[in-house]
Each structure stands twice: as structure tokens, then as C-alpha cells.
């Protein structure tokens, strides 16, 4: 139905002004070398345990079953309402709540929530509640022994399916598509959880893994002994446990956002993507993910080789340092969608089934104010997010290199830093719309 938008949306951002793009690029390059040459020469960020533990009472409340089951029940109820609206509400996308909830409020809103509060999608995952209710069917969880080896690869696959739906599938904004996706997602993941055990959700539920990944840049961490603590978000990110597939998860996120940017450019719309069909979109999405993956693997391998480290551990070792860059891309591409088109959710929530005269919250008559955030402000947020993500990413990579080898030379980090600069210049270029 529309080639420009994410899953839904009435507008897309203007190309950023050329000045913003050039200053941003310059800042990214300068900051990179400043980090390498001027920053600390021995590890400075603490590891797990460097923060301040939360009061025991608060931890008991947050970790306790009552709160979690309550949140999961509320999430399950909301999800059921959304599916019902998708099936029986107005069939016009502009009047149906479900696509806006899925593609804007939930998918984009998960980012600020996880950044502020930690892994909310894990704590409030409604599928965990469903699974617990159905566990009597398969009490043994016969496949649970294989989960550690799978790592986060299933989550990367799960997220790839969602971003394909969001960015490529032509019928993505139809309410019926949303209903089928949500129901299918629940059936598949609860089924797999019955086989692999409840830990499946941490390994395979794309949304939960996404929220947990972003929460790595939140101030909420957990010590090795399970104690919750408030810690420096940078230390939190570096304490990300190394799992198989962590790098793949980050690469899928970065690549899909890059494809989102690419698909809005005149170059794509008049060139490779002019057919605007499933095939060109799928190939474009996979190509962008492949480019990001290739750059990442090259950068980490060369950095590792120069430092004389085992090449096998390299791509995984630096995966956490790319999280801020992926987050910067995400904010740059989705901020305006949440702030502007996200208003639609709150308008339609007043009358989800389109009944005559119903106006639950008094918002049904409102119109989306597409001027609520000016185009200059949007451009500033976009460039700011990309640059901040870049600086944090380079800083984390620097610290990671020092942690790996006490006398790490700055030049050893150069390949990875240059790859990060490529990501950032590429991200700015896509926002500029070449």
C-alpha cells in the first residue's frame, strides 16, 4: 500500500540538512580518534558489581512472582484486546488500533521503556504466563539442554521475521495481517517453550531479546550473585554476557534499520527498489544485513589479529559495543514515528471497535498533530542519536580492548573503529537521503 512508511505511518522525515550531515560526520571521526588517543589507557569502567545494590525489599518486590504475573496478565489482556480489534474492529488501517499498537506504540515504545526501566518485555512477557498455564502438557521440556548452544540465534531469526513483516511485506498494515502475526507468534513461541522450557523466551522471543539488549544501556544491572543494582550504563553494556548469536542479533537490528533508511531514499525508490514488491524488499533487507555483518566481522577480525588474539572469539567479544550504534540508528529512524503517528493509538483507543458515539477517553475526535515536533528538532534528534551512539560504541570498544589486553595498542583498535565510522557515515548518508 505504501512504499515510504514503516509498518504504518502517514509521513516520513525530511532528509537532514547537508550541514547537519557534514558536521555529524566530522564529529564522529574526531570523537573516534579522541577516544583512541586521549582517553584512558587502562580499564576504567567497572564490571558487574561496580554499582549500588538496590534495597532488598525493592528487589524482592521486583523479582517476586506476584508483580511479574500481574504485569504479564495485564499484557496478555491488552494483547487479546488488540487481536480482537484486529479481527473484528474497523477494517480500514487508519481507523484500526491494532497496526498502530504493534508497529508504533509497542515496537518503538519498547526502546525508551527498556532504556529507562530495564528489560520490561521479559518481566511482562504475556507468553511466559501462557506457557506456565500450559506447562502440564509437556512437563519435561525435553529440549532444554540444547538452549545454551543455540544462544541468541533463535531470537535473531525471530526478529528478522518481524522486521521483514514491518519493512517488506506489502500487506503489513492490514489489521488481518496483524492478527495473524500476533496469534502465530504466540502459538509458535509457546509451542517452542513447551519443548525447550521457559528459558526459550530469553533465547528465542525476538521482542524479549530486543528489550533485554536495549536494557543493557539502562542503569539497571544484575550482579553475578543475582543481586539487582544501579550501575553506570556503560559498565552495564560491557557486562553483557557473551552468548552465541549476540552479534547476529545486533547485526539484524542495525541492518534492518539501515534498510529502512535505504528504502526511503530516491535512489532506492527509482533504482533497485522501484518494483516495490516482496522480492526486491526481501533482497534489499538481506543485502543490508549482509553488508553490516561483513563489515562487523572484518573489523573485529582485523582488530583481533593485530592484537594477536584468537580470531575465533573476536566477533562475539565486541558485539556489546555495537549495541549503542544500533540504538542510535533506531532512535534516528523511529523517533518521529512515535512522537507523531504514535498519537493515533491514543486517539483510536477511545473507540477501538468503531462503535457509534463511543469515546472512552475523550480523545476520539482529536486529529494527529503532525507539527507537534518541528522538522529541525527531528533532524537534531536524528543526528544527535547517531553521533551519541557512535561515541558510546567507540568508547566501549576501547574499554573492551583494554580489558582484553592490558597493554593494548591504540592502533589495534583502528579496524573496528573504522568500521564503526563506516556505520555512522552510512547512517548519516541514509538520513541525508543520497
Amino acid at each position: 500500500m505504501s512504499v515510504l512508511a514503516h509498518g504504518v505511518g502517514s509521513r516520513t522525515d525530511l532528509p537532514i540538512p547537508i550541514g547537519f550531515a557534514l558536521y555529524g560526520a566530522g564529529a564522529a571521526i574526531l570523537a573516534s580518534f579522541a577516544v583512541l588517543l586521549v582517553f584512558w589507557r587502562s580499564p576504567r569502567l567497572g564490571g558487574p558489581g561496580s554499582g549500588r545494590p538496590l534495597p532488598m525489599g525493592l528487589q524482592r518486590l521486583v523479582d517476586g512472582a506476584p508483580l511479574r504475573q500481574c504485569l504479564q496478565a495485564v499484557a496478555l489482556l491488552l494483547a487479546a484486546v488488540v487481536v480482537a480489534v484486529a479481527l473484528w474492529g474497523p477494517q480500514d488501517t487508519d481507523r484500526n488500533l491494532a497496526p498502530w499498537v504493534l508497529y508504533v506504540t509497542f515496537w518503538v515504545g519498547l526502546v525508551p521503556l527498556s532504556l529507562l526501566l530495564g528489560p520490561v518485555a521479559r518481566v511482562a512477557n504475556p507468553l511466559r504466563l501462557l506457557h506456565r498455564g500450559l506447562q502440564v502438557l509437556a512437563p519435561g521440556a525435553p529440549g532444554s539442554g540444547r538452549l545454551p548452544a543455540l544462544g541468541l540465534w533463535p531470537a535473531a531469526g525471530s526478529l528478522l521475521v518481524f522486521v521483514w513483516l514491518e519493512l517488506v511485506y506489502p500487506g503489513r498494515s492490514e489489521p488481518a495481517t496483524v492478527a495473524v502475526f500476533l496469534l502465530g507468534y504466540a502459538v509458535v513461541h509457546v509451542g517452542l517453550a513447551l519443548w525447550f522450557g521457559e528459558d526459550w523466551f530469553a533465547h528465542g522471543d525476538g521482542f524479549e531479546a530486543y528489550s533485554t539488549l536495549i536494557a543493557r544501556l539502562s542503569p539497571w544491572g544484575r550482579r553475578d550473585d543475582g543481586r539487582l543494582e544501579l550501575r553506570n550504563p556503560l559498565a552495564n553494556a560491557l557486562a553483557t554476557p557473551s552468548q552465541p548469536g549476540l552479534a547476529a542479533l545486533v547485526v539484524v537490528l542495525l541492518g534492518s534499520t539501515a534498510f529502512d533508511g535505504l528504502s526511503r531514499t530516491v535512489f532506492w525508490q527509482t533504482g533497485p527498489g522501484s518494483a516495490d514488491d516482496t522480492l526486491s524488499g526481501t533482497l534489499g533487507l538481506l543485502a543490508m544485513i549482509a553488508v553490516v555483518a561483513a563489515l562487523y566481522v572484518l573489523g573485529t577480525r582485523f582488530s583481533g589479529r593485530m592484537a594477536g588474539q584468537d580470531p575465533a572469539i573476536q566477533p562475539a567479544r565486541y558485539a556489546a559495543t555495537v549495541i549503542p550504534i544500533a540504538l542510535g540508528y533506531t532512535v534516528a529512524h523511529y523517533f518521529s514515528l512515535l512522537a507523531l503517528d504514535g498519537q493515533t493509538t491514543w486517539i483510536l483507543a477511545s473507540n477501538p471497535f468503531g462503535a457509534d458515539g463511543l469515546d472512552l477517553f475523550g480523545t476520539y475526535g482529536n486529529r494527529v498533530d503532525l507539527t507537534a515536533v518541528g522538522s529541525d528538532a527531528i533532524a537534531l534528534v536524528q543526528v544527535g542519536a547517531i553521533i551519541l551512539g557512535h561515541v558510546v560504541g567507540v568508547t566501549l570498544a576501547h574499554e573492551r580492548a583494554l580489558l582484553s589486553a592490558r597493554r593494548a595498542r591504540a592502533s589495534d583498535q583502528l579496524p573496528l573503529v573504522i568500521v564503526m565510522v563506516c556505520f555512522t557515515l552510512g547512517g548519516l548518508g541514509l538520513l541525508f537521503g543520497f
Partner: protein
């Protein structure tokens, strides 16, 4: 040993630079339009208000004309830049009955075969907006306001 690794970074840096440079060449008009958002553009103007001065159609503003024949779009298609605040006259002629829809501004018009339909509005909302045929889903053009 340092020879091999150092060549790759240089190549990668060159690639990034090339990407930025081609970017400059590609979208000149987008850059020159720039952030000229006028501070007075606060509320979206409904379609009706713009018809206050209908007798001088070509006097001010931008006229965009599109023709649809057998599903093929011709005329001012693609990305059409419009300065913020400009008065826009959009004229669409289709050989099949359909409904015109301007996203974001949320304006529409019924299209009768062979009869040009006109939508007039002030481009007060910055951003990129699609103009499409509602039934067929055909993208006519993208309005780039800003």
C-alpha cells in the same frame, strides 16, 4: 605484517567518503530547500480554507499535475519538493474511477474517468507525504514539504 591490515581500513574509509560524496551530488535540490519551516505554520489547514482565493489559480503557489493511464503514472511523479507554507494545487486525471488520497494532510477527492480532480491546500506540515490512489494503491508521487 602491519601492511595487510592497514590497507583495508584505508579502503573502508574511502568507501565511506565516496558514499558521502555521492550523497552530495545526488540531492542538490533537497539541500537547497533546507529547513525553511516558517514559524507561522502551526496548524494543518483543512482543504476548504485554501479555496478563499480561487479566481487566481496560477498567481501563486505550485501546481502539480499527474495523469494515470492503465495503471501507469506520468507527469510530476517521484519526489516533488515543495517549500513549506506554499499553496499547492494538485491536479490528477485518471482513466479509471478511484479515490485520491494525500497522506498526512489527509485530503481526498473522487476521481471520475477522464475528468481532472483538483485538491488545493497550503503545505504547512513539513515532512515527506505520499499521494496515492486509495483503491488501486498506486503511488502517484511523494510530496516533500520543507
Amino acid at each position: 605484517m602491519p601492511v595487510r591490515p592497514s590497507r583495508l581500513p584505508a579502503a573502508l574509509a574511502g568507501l565511506g567518503l565516496a558514499a558521502v560524496l555521492t550523497g552530495c551530488a545526488g540531492t542538490d535540490e533537497a539541500a537547497s530547500v533546507g529547513p525553511t519551516t516558517s514559524s507561522s505554520s502551526s496548524a494543518p489547514a483543512p482543504a476548504g480554507t485554501s479555496s478563499a482565493a480561487p479566481s487566481t489559480p496560477a498567481a501563486a503557489g505550485q501546481r502539480i499535475e499527474v495523469t494515470v493511464t492503465g495503471g501507469q503514472v506520468s507527469g510530476d511523479t517521484g519526489r516533488v519538493p515543495v517549500p513549506a507554507g506554499e499553496h499547492v494545487t494538485l491536479v490528477v486525471t485518471s482513466d479509471a474511477p478511484d479515490e485520491l488520497h494525500v497522506h498526512g494532510y489527509d485530503l481526498g477527492a473522487d476521481l471520475a474517468p477522464g475528468t481532472p480532480a483538483t485538491v488545493e491546500f497550503d503545505a504547512t506540515i513539513p515532512g515527506v507525504f505520499e499521494v496515492e490512489l486509495h483503491e488501486a494503491g498506486t503511488l502517484l508521487l511523494s510530496l516533500q514539504v520543507g
